[in-house]
Amino acid sequence: MTRPSIPSQQTALRKDTDVEITADDTQPATADVVDAPAASKEAVFVADDLHVFYGDFLAVRDVNLDIAKNEITAFIGPSGCGKSTVLRCFNRMNDLIEIARVEGRIDYHGIDLYSPGIDAVEVRRRIGMVFQKPNPFPKSIYDNLAFGPRISGIKKKAELDEIVESSLRRAALWDEVKDRLKSSAMGMSGGQQQRLCIARAIAVQPDVILMDEPCSSLDPIATGKIEELMDEIKEEYTIIIVTHNMQQAARVSDMTAFYSVEVNETSDTRTGILVEYDRTDKIFSNPTDERTERYVTGRFG
């Protein structure tokens, strides 16, 4: 089986002339495109008028944002605002939900992720993911890490050993588990399991790591370790993190996107919208939108 691969690490930046500012009068609730990071840093993702549907239900609409390379971008917002849904568009994880449908465009290094020739499997190899609940495979620690490299064609044991060790070291887990690599990953603590999942994502040498509330099931100490880890690995990876914890977003992220929910009066459905996207310090100290301010100061209805 050959996988048509997307051109590797193509660094075509979106030209400024292509930018469509969608300050559409009919959609006053949506934030304008904020191109602040792209001006200074290379953009990994450019989401353009992204809409996500589940069947006929519009889950998120009009998302426009650029994700800068080697930065941590946080998605915050109340439950049901579609932040996880948007996150899962970036590695086409939503493809696995049959009724999910994406409209609009996400460019990854200039390539439209949803154009017909793109192989979602190959996309996911480059854009790794860490999930809300630690989900190590019910296998040994070693096999958890070696699986990704194995399926991308690395067979030599020495090479796999090397990847396993370096990934565990990157995830600050090596010293804790080096003597029990062959024991089951299910015997680790929750925090260790989540760091293992990060190591597992690192092991395939991705370009981007998506994290969907990675700390929501962990205690503050384990959370602290994961945050430290994120800060360390962002030199090599671009990270997008969905979090319910605003302090966490403020602590770890460079950019923050605030999503909110708008209730559709006629059909009583809820649609997520991107309200504001800016540098994290600005979002938390001096947000432009009133809704953002209400949310970050804890006065959200």
């Binding site: 089986m1 499997v121 790794g128 860490v130 495979f137 699986f147 990704g148 399926i151 999942c197």
Partner: protein, 311 residues
């Protein structure tokens, strides 16, 4: 309680709590229900016990006089003193082998398709429903199917292959259903983890979902084998020998294309003969079949416990 006596507790609150909690009432209704449940359990165990004790008692002359001779003797519905069950034991094992080779891979593959690939389409839902219906089709119907298709249409004749294939068709829906349930029990997060590092659907299924579901699938498989081993009707229709069976000296595998008999058929055959000695043979053969099936079930339980996983 030295630790938890803040000032607010005590006084009226404590009095109210005492009145509400320490009623001294006993849960009589609960006790009665518990008693009825125990009675139900006891009665079903009693039936089984009576059955086994009765079989052992009636077959006792055989076990005390010629156990070895009985276990190694041939099918013989004319002369009770020379009759045995060896051909039946062998036939049942051969049938189980054919079922294992045919129904396990086929059923597991069907389940993998239905659970991992088919998704939520109408056709898949319709297929699932009908697999459940097939599991309820009486076994004699599978016998007719075996006779018409395997014996006559494919020209396999009255052989182990034909009988084994008929039994495979019989247990296939059971294998599919149990394997589907085992696959469904694997948390979606395991699949997500694999997809998240760039695995294809097949890589995910092969490396993670199937191994995680293996204990459940195996348990279902062994239980279906036990079911197949105990069925008489389908293989009677397919033409298992009930009178005299001459087995040559071919190898075990060559015999798969030969005439055969099986334990349930032997029981049926001996039960039809007049005379007290055939009653003893019937009971003894039943004990042998029971032991075979119990062994299979015990093996299934052992497999399940051995490979049980926690998520």
């Amino acid at each position: 309680m030295p630790l938890s006596t803040p000032q607010s507790v005590g006084g009226s609150t404590a009095a109210a709590v005492t009145a509400g909690v320490a009623t001294g009432r006993r849960d009589i209704k609960g006790k009665i229900i518990e008693g009825i449940l125990i009675l139900c359990l006891a009665s079903s165990l009693l039936i089984l016990t009576v059955l086994i004790v009765d079989l052992l008692r009636r077959s006792w002359p055989i076990w005390s006089e010629r156990p070895g001779d009985f276990l190694t003797g041939p099918l013989n519905s004319a002369n009770a003193s020379q009759a045995g069950v060896w051909q039946g034991i062998k036939g049942t094992i051969q049938l189980a082998l054919v079922v294992a080779v045919v129904a396990i891979p086929l059923g597991t593959a069907c389940a993998v398709y239905l659970e991992e690939y088919a998704g939520k389409s109408k056709l898949a839902a319709f297929t699932r429903l009908n697999v459940r219906n097939l599991a309820g089709v009486p076994s004699i119907v599978y016998g007719l199917l075996g006779l018409a298709i395997f014996v006559q249409f494919f020209g396999l004749g009255r052989t182990v292959w034909a009988g084994g294939l008929a039994l495979s068709a019989l247990v296939l829906p059971i294998v599919i259903i149990t394997a589907s349930e085992a696959l469904r029990a694997v948390p979606y997060s395991v699949r997500e983890g694999a997809f998240g590092v760039g695995a294809t659907r097949w890589e995910t299924t092969r490396s993670h979902v199937l191994p995680a579901a293996a204990p459940g699938i195996l348990t279902g498989v062994v239980l279906s084998l036990a079911r197949a081993a105990g069925e008489a009707a389908p293989i009677l229709l397919v033409g298992a020998a009930t009178g005299l069976l001459r087995t040559g000296d071919q190898s075990f595998f060559d015999q798969l294309s030969e005439a055969f008999t099986a334990m349930p058929v032997i029981i049926f055959s001996y039960a039809r003969q007049p005379g007290a000695d055939f009653r003893e043979l019937t009971a003894a053969a039943s004990v042998v079949l029971l032991v075979l099936v119990l062994f299979m079930n015990a093996f299934a339980i052992w497999l399940r416990n051995r490979y049980q996983r926690k998520w």
